[in-house]
Amino acid sequence: MTCAECRENLSAYADGALNFPERQAIGGHLEACPACRAELSFIQSMKAAVAGLPSPRMPADLKAALLAEAKRQTRRESFWPSLWALPSFRYPAAALAACFAALLVVYAVGRKERGPSISLNAMLIAHEEYALSRPLAPADIIYSRLPEQVESSGENPHDL
């Protein structure tokens, strides 16, 4: 993992929003990269500082003005029905929508005809599970990466 890839996900990492493999990958990079650790520390301190700020109250006159404007908008006639009434807009738009729907159908059928798929992770799991059945298997090393592969192989690897 490069520093750029790491920093792209540092904010999510600080929020705890990444999954386990992503956390492991970033954690591994952070262990070896003092610059990214410093960046993470900065992000964490900024988040803590922002979280500590009091929420500003909306001024009473601004709130009243916004509510009044919202009421006016709901009373106003919608723009799209009036546009749809124009034949010069309605027919080309309908033709365009039909073309788009046809493209979607062609894409879906094409995908189905391309047949089933299998992930490389499913094969790696089979490879490692066989390795585990060997007496001299480096079991702890294999088990340390098996959960990540199982998780990445998809929800149901039987459904190829």
Partner: protein
């Protein structure tokens, strides 16, 4: 008084003189205590005869970025079908758990409330003698006193390929229980790819039976892990390589799935390394995920190459079939195997 002193000196001298001839003998005795490497290998394959628990550190070296990642794991072991491994994340909390409850092997993530159920690894205790023969035929095994690991005395067992002379694995075995307390796996480029080491270990601890059970709570998502399809039957038309690297033998096959698009898995081994050949109809698409696969020219076709912790992965299509070869071999050797598949 003088007589007493002289008597004591004479006695001490006599004792020392009596011991001198024994010194070379005691050195020889110490050398004799070094076990036979094949016997040490055999006892290591049989595994420890008592339960144990310990903390393990695992280091993986990335080939591409030259970085290394490490993780810690707590291990509880009460037999080949009852064990527990807790993989910790960077903060030290448990990220993933692997539990064998005697019937199934579960992998679950407490934070995500997801679990995968799979079969227990097949034991092969009855194959130990054939395994020893295969390993000792392909590897020169040497034993020497090892360093202390987690406070335990060890023997160092080294495996060098008889074909290439390359060191492929080093094991530090506990002298009393023969558990591998540290191991290093070397890549074809002769650099360490992965390593594990116990940072602490205790034998015969009291282990609660709760450690070896898993009962998912309400709301957990349970998924069956991939297991060989029993309805696949045999496929006599599947293609097998006519050339294998020195020492590798065919060990068996099964199908990852049955039905109209079976994916066959043939396994080959030299006793330590595993070579897997998968094949299916070329209609079955292969999803490489995030392995950074790239196209690679082969002698007779075009292939795709990816690098994983299990070694290189080479994929190609020929004769209406898609093939995937996985193994800890260099690209040249993998290609030679691939080109020998009709």
């Amino acid at each position: 008084m003088i007589c007493k002193l002289q008597g004591a000196r004479i006695a001490a001298f006599a004792t020392a003189a009596a011991l001198i001839p024994l010194l070379p003998a005691s050195g020889a005795a110490a050398r004799l205590k070094r076990p036979d490497p094949i016997e040490a290998l055999r006892r290591s394959l049989e595994g420890p005869s008592v339960p144990y628990r310990g903390e393990v550190k695992i280091v993986n070296h990335s080939r591409q970025s030259r970085e290394r990642s490490s993780l810690a794991m707590d291990v509880f072991w009460a037999g080949p079908s009852r064990y527990r491994r807790e993989i910790k994340d960077k903060s030290g909390s448990i990220g993933q758990v692997i539990v064998a409850d005697g019937k199934s092997e579960w992998i679950y993530s407490p934070s995500d409330q997801k679990a995968w159920e799979g079969p227990l690894p097949e034991g092969s205790k009855n194959e130990i003698e054939s395994e020893v023969r295969l390993i000792s035929a392909n590897y020169d095994i040497r034993i020497s006193p090892g360093r202390r690991i987690a406070g335990r005395a060890t023997w160092l067992l080294e495996f060098k390929s008889r074909a290439t002379g390359a060191l492929v694995r080093r094991l530090w075995l506990d002298r009393q229980y023969w558990l591998s307390l540290e191991s290093e796996l070397f890549r074809p480029n002769r650099k360490v790819g992965s390593a594990m080491r116990f940072t602490s270990v205790s034998f015969n601890p009291k282990l609660s039976q709760d450690l070896f059970s898993f009962k998912p709570r309400t709301g957990w998502k349970i998924t069956s892990r991939l297991k060989p399809a029993s309805d696949a039957g045999a496929d006599a038309s599947r293609a097998l390589p006519s050339w294998l690297p020195s020492g590798y033998v065919f060990e068996g096959e099964d199908a990852l799935r049955g039905g109209q698009n079976p994916v066959w898995h043939d396994r080959f081994s030299d006793g330590i390394n595993i070579l897997s050949l998968f094949q299916c109809s070329s209609d079955v698409r292969l999803d490489f995920g995030t392995t950074g696969a790239k196209p690679v020219p082969m002698a007779s076709t075009h292939g795709t190459l990816a690098q994983t912790q299990d070694g290189l992965v080479l994929s190609w299509s020929r004769g209406g079939r898609r093939f995937v070869l996985i193994g800890p071999l260099d690209l040249e050797t993998l290609e030679r195997v691939a080109e020998s598949v009709p």
